[in-house]
Symmetry: C2
Subunit: 233 residues, 2 copies
DNA sequence: CAGTGGTCTAGACCACCAG
DNA sequence: TGGTGGTCTAGACCACTGC
């Protein structure tokens, strides 16, 4: 009747979104059932189901058995964001990437590492500090701790040539991770390394990974003020 | 042969993930085709397809027609994070939420608003500043601009009682949004409002929304140092 | 051109839960 | 208990792309 091209899942999804945005279905309102939508559109229920599931994943609708599908009350719920890989990030902006290992030592972990990863205080780890450079300017300072128990090969890895991150990503799989974003003031050490002034507002990304309960690595990444992490909704 | 329970998409997905994490398929390696996996597992190809698509969505594998499915080289690619709704955030921590409107005026937008939203400089907007409070302590400071053209009702909304965010979410649908995270130093105004010291490192969240090319609103949310946004990988 | 993933169909059965 | 979404099956055709 009114269908223009194909009954693709994408078209159906867009159509449903349009009807939500147009106000045809207000927030909280009940949407027709999958069966009736399929009849109206003239496609298989499976196709409608996939479209609605996608909309539910994106937080636009809320689905419940028996009671049906409703337009979400708070459409702003989730955002999928790309985790920046430093080298790609720099090179995609046209910069030249360099990396410098500043420190490599074997040491017992400080308190924040014990807390983040859940490791005992008497187990030695590898402590790495490195600077990521874009066009000869400091771009990000990385302070990393790696579990020797989980990754014994780390002690003989060629970390002068390849960055710890790229080495670990290539060599060590993980099953679970956590990432957090916050702000912090630059202490004197970090300020010196990043060529900024002590007390300036740094953007801090922390990441930890595990392989089935066994801690692998945790790190802090310090970005200078002005760095922005952007994502579409 | 070896299957234990059901051939659910979830089980298959977990099984495939396990085989990736165990090292059976190394990063960059080619995974068997959907057809052969379906045969091996004893299920329909559709089911394998859905499992693999999910893994691709999560960034664990990369799929290409004709060439097949490979284990991703950089398994850390995307993270879906929950966008904090201030009231929920506070109340879920057991705090008491309050909200205070500090400023409400009609004004031509400053440069940063023009840039973020793409609005002309001569079109008046509503400028709102409000403070979100947890247990009588400043929690977040919000600096918002709303397009009168897109939302004429804003001028008569009861913004003393309900927060601008909750009012907009309930009344105005949007089709596109952008959100960004960064750090900044507190200027004197913000420091006073948030009861912190000027120069301290704030965590800044900016959000803008549009409805089909028409700008609706943009805002900056200032969180104090110590605020962390956490997400699982 | 042939083999891979991408997706739609039609039908079926199941799980949940408001009435 | 009946109606809703959740999901699997078997089959089909299409779109892309490396060979």
């Amino acid at each position: 009747m009114k269908s223009t091209k194909t009954n693709s899942q994408q078209n159906i999804q867009n159509d449903l979104l349009r009807r939500i945005h147009s106000g045809e279905w207000r927030p909280g309102a009940l949407i027709p059932t999958e069966v009736s939508l399929a009849q109206e559109i003239g496609c298989a229920r499976t196709t409608v189901n996939r479209a609605l599931q996608k909309l539910a994943d994106d937080g636009h609708v809320v689905r419940k058995r028996r009671s049906g599908t409703r337009v979400a009350l708070s459409p702003v719920r989730k955002a999928t964001m790309e985790i920046p890989i430093v080298r790609d990030e720099i090179e995609s902006k046209g910069g030249t990437y360099k990396f410098m290992l500043l420190l490599s030592e074997k040491k017992k972990p400080p308190l924040w590492v014990q807390v983040r990863l859940g490791v005992p205080d008497d187990q030695e780890m590898v402590h790495l500090q490195s600077l990521h450079i874009s066009d000869n300017h400091p771009y990000m300072f990385e302070d990393r701790w790696v579990s020797i128990k989980a990754v014994p090969e780390i002690t003989s890895a060629p970390l002068g040539k390849i960055s710890p991150n790229e080495w670990l990503v290539r060599e060590v799989p993980y099953s679970r991770g956590e990432i957090s974003f916050s702000s912090c003031s630059a202490d004197e050490t970090v300020a010196n390394i990043m060529e900024t002034t002590p007390g300036s507002a740094m953007f801090l990304v922390e990441r930890s990974t595990w392989i089935y309960q066994m801690p692998i690595t945790t790190l802090k990444m310090y970005y200078p003020e002005g760095f922005r992490l952007i994502t579409k909704l």
